[in-house]
């Protein structure tokens, strides 16, 4: 979004977007460090680079709305209001984690914020989101289900089945595709009939399709706002594709041999956090000093989160057998 198009009336809101994106970045970078120190195990998929998507989209939501996402889910959880301590403790597998150490990085949940995962089978969570949208529609709550999905899910059956069902039932739902150009190590164009051109992927099912710059939080916010309004009005589901990039590998264990350093460098120049910071400076809405203070405050939040996670107790053997059934 061009600087002159930005609504400057709410400086606090704009700075809040900056703060949230930076919080996620810092969370991810420290989590990556903790992984290399062996304090986080399993798979760890970092969201660094894609922060504008979760923050921009979720910033539009109301409490009654639902969020469902894929396994690169830390950013969405934090943007939806999960306490970084709870999230980090879950990555550490601790009893104080959001899922008491039973879900891990790929399965974050916070039911009290209508945040329903964190799902690690590609495309498998789309029907779940449609069902939440059905519940909202049936109970006439006015809520919308915002469902994030990765580019890999476009080739899964659930993508097509869920879009069809959502369209047939006019469900209040937004399909938000985060196209970070690689499904694990496979460039999207190599395994997609239209060469990774997803911009109209919702069109066969009659969905309004929007493409947005996923490195621009304000553009993401605006596009999502329009889609949510449509879904909320009863006009049925909508589809957004954000073009974005993960700065790290697929997971922390990925040596990233399938893309060039040049490509990575080019995307790094579009860093969504510094991009927004530059825009706000350009519009005289903030100062370098104010941005530095925000970053330092978030550094402290994450330091506390890591400390909390480290000092938290492990789950006990009794915990193994709880929560299998309600």
């Amino acid at each position: 979004m061009q600087a002159e198009a930005i609504d400057t009336s709410s400086k606090t809101e704009l700075l809040n977007l900056y703060q949230q994106m930076y919080l996620i970045r810092e969370f991810e970078e420290r989590a990556g460090e903790m992984y290399t120190r062996g304090l986080i195990r399993g798979f760890l998929h970092l969201y660094s680079g894609q922060e504008a998507v979760a923050v921009g989209a979720i910033s539009n939501l109301e409490d009654r709305d639902y969020v469902v996402t894929h396994y690169r889910d830390h950013g969405h959880a934090l943007a939806r209001g999960m306490d970084p301590k709870t999230a980090m403790a879950e990555l550490f597998g601790k009893a104080t984690g959001s899922s008491k150490g039973k879900g891990g990085s790929m399965h974050l949940f916070q039911a009290s914020r209508n945040f329903f995962g964190g799902h690690a089978i590609v495309g498998g969570h789309l029907p779940l989101a449609a069902g939440l949208a059905l519940a909202a529609q049936y109970k006439k709550t006015g809520g919308v289900a915002l469902c994030f999905l990765g580019d890999g899910s476009v080739n899964e059956g659930e993508f097509h089945e869920t879009m069809n069902l959502a369209a047939v039932w006019k469900l209040p739902m937004v399909f938000f595709l985060e196209n970070n150009l690689y499904g694990m190590g496979t460039a999207v164009g190599r395994v997609h009939a239209r060469g990774g051109d997803f911009d109209m992927a919702g069109a066969p099912y009659g969905l309004d399709c929007t493409v947005v710059d996923g490195m621009d939080v304000l553009a993401v916010r605006e596009a999502t706002k329009v889609a949510l309004e449509k879904a909320r009005s009863g006009a049925g589901p909508a589809y957004i594709e954000a073009k974005t990039f993960r700065f790290h590998g697929h997971s922390v264990a990925d040596p990233v041999k399938y893309r060039t350093r040049e490509e990575e460098q080019e995307w790094r120049t579009k860093d969504p956090i510094s991009h927004l910071g530059d825009q706000l400076l350009q519009l005289d809405l903030t100062t370098e000093q104010e941005l530095l203070e925000i970053r330092e405050s978030q550094d402290e939040v994450i330091r506390e989160a890591v400390k909390f996670a480290q000092e938290s107790p492990e789950p006990t053997d009794e915990d193994l057998f709880t929560d299998v059934y309600a």
Partner: protein, 325 residues
Amino acid sequence: MPEINIRDALQMGHHEALESDPNVLILGEDIGAYGGAYSVTAGLLDEFGPDRVRDTPISEAAFVGAGIGAAVGGLKPIVEYMNLNFALLAFDQMINIGASLQYMSGGQVSVPIVYRAPTGGGIQLAATHSRSYENWLAAVPGMKVVAPSTPADALGLLRSALSDPNPVLMVEHVLMYQRKGMVPDDHFTVPIGKADIRRPGSDVTIVSYHHAMITAMDVADKLAARDVSAEVIDLRTLRPLDMPMVIASVEKTNRVLLLEENYKTGGIMGEIAAQIQEQAFDYLDGPIARVGAEDVPHPYNRGLEQSMLPSADKALAALSAAYGI
């Protein structure tokens, strides 16, 4: 109440659920305008409307997953599969999401959904429409699986499933919808996880469920003609298993025949056999007798299909080999 059949009992259960709880809705293929492949939901669309009785696309992953999502969102969905064999298209939904959310969320997210599915062979539909997969789903922690063989159990277990906060699968044998039985007039329920002694006896225990119960009762009659008293247990629930009832009976009779329509290899009776030898090894007079379907895909030809399914003759032969009775 006069004798009614299993289909009518299930329809009654759906009707009262829709009537008594506004959050109950039914999803499935051809359950509305068509009336259901086995007519369980016939007439419900007209009475309760398309918001509550929802015909879905032939799209198992989507409508099963949507049912799960609706349950998470506070509704009480009943999802009908046209056939349990089609549930293979939605195992990911049922297992990775439906049966896992409670645990993976650390207890935050419950999935109070009821799945129903016709299952079983015997009507010449060949391999894609005849297999019994309920034992696979009964192997998944987080799932509950019930398999009624009488109208009273069908209604009583459906009521229990609807008030259970967990995902419950009810499998209905395709050959049993017309099976009649007495159903109490009062608002009874049948608890999930409780087996039933259909016929008390002292010489041998027969454990079975579903359509194989008909064979089990037939075997008991034939044994009685030889002065052998068989105790017949209908499992009714495959998860959680009522092992205390099975073990108590085996301790009394010292002999056991396990009879099911699942493949013998990997069938649920293999698990029950293992638990019997763990818990009642010293009570056994001989090896555990076990009969299931033969390990071949279901054939179309009637003679071949009958040969691959369990039978009274096979059961009697297994008992004879194990115990000389």
